[in-house]
Amino acid sequence: MKMKRVFPILALLTAVLLSFALYEALVAAPTEQTMGNVQRIFYYHVPSAWTAFLLFFINFVCSIQYLVRPNPVADKLTNWTVLAIGIAACIAAFVIRPLPEGIEPSSVATTGLAITGLYFLIKKCFSQPRTDALAVVTAEVGVVFCTIVLVTGPLWARPVWGIWWTWDVRLTSTLVLWLIYISYLMLRRFSTSGQTPVLAAALAVFGALDVPLVYFSIWIFRTQHPQPVIGGGGSIDPRMLHVLLINWLAFLCFAALVCWSRYRLEILQREVEETQALEALLEPRSSP
């Protein structure tokens, strides 16, 4: 009941934030000198990509938890591994010198701690079957954001590069990522096997390996895609960065609300399916 009252307020706040972010992107942000106004696509393209990556990462964490939690030894081992990742990231941030170009020590430590924190937060808040529900939800909403990335990218590329698409590493790996999660959703939708959640979780774990490849492809390979604007030797006007971060915050709030609604729908759907299955079992069979 309390949630029902909070949701409209959060939805209204998100709508206000999205409107403000849109105004900032279209009006307040300075016009880029060489590309002109078409550069403003960047304020929707990049936050959508970051949101999709975050959602796929949550899907990855949920899938791992769904696979390891029934086995106490694997569960404990994973807990220690995740803790070790957090500690190693903190140590690496302040010990390893020099770090690769464009990587700040604070971002290494923050990323490590965020991974550890997110893992244990999900573990504390969601039971093992519920992690499966959250995995489906994040994959679905992640695909929506990834679709936006794949649509807005060519709409920026056509006037700037003169072509809609090129098979460079960043673009191709993003398309592959999208296809992996589309196949994940198709598996969830059409497979009737009792093992579907396990198979889907395994697919998600391998699929998530593509996320770092997409993200770091422009750092590692020589690509046609623009270089990173944050880190990696890239630079951005502080006013543009401000607008970019406002848009990302707005998209994150929107994604959280959509995930929340979709999660409630998923739980309700599972409860209905369980009740229907129980009813079918209890129904008296007609005699031959």
């Binding site: 929506v144 807005t152 709409l155 729908l265 759907q269």
Partner: protein
């Protein structure tokens, strides 16, 4: 400018379409719940 508007419009069309599918799924589920309650 056309490409800019096309990108922003496409983004919101995708979001609204997805929200529409959620509403449709929720309505279907509500009907199923009503049917279960009647039994």
């Amino acid at each position: 400018m056309n490409f800019l508007y096309a990108a922003y419009t496409a983004t919101w069309i995708i979001h609204i379409t997805y929200l529409g599918t959620l509403v449709r799924r929720y309505q279907r589920l509500s009907r199923e719940i009503e049917e279960l309650k009647k039994k």
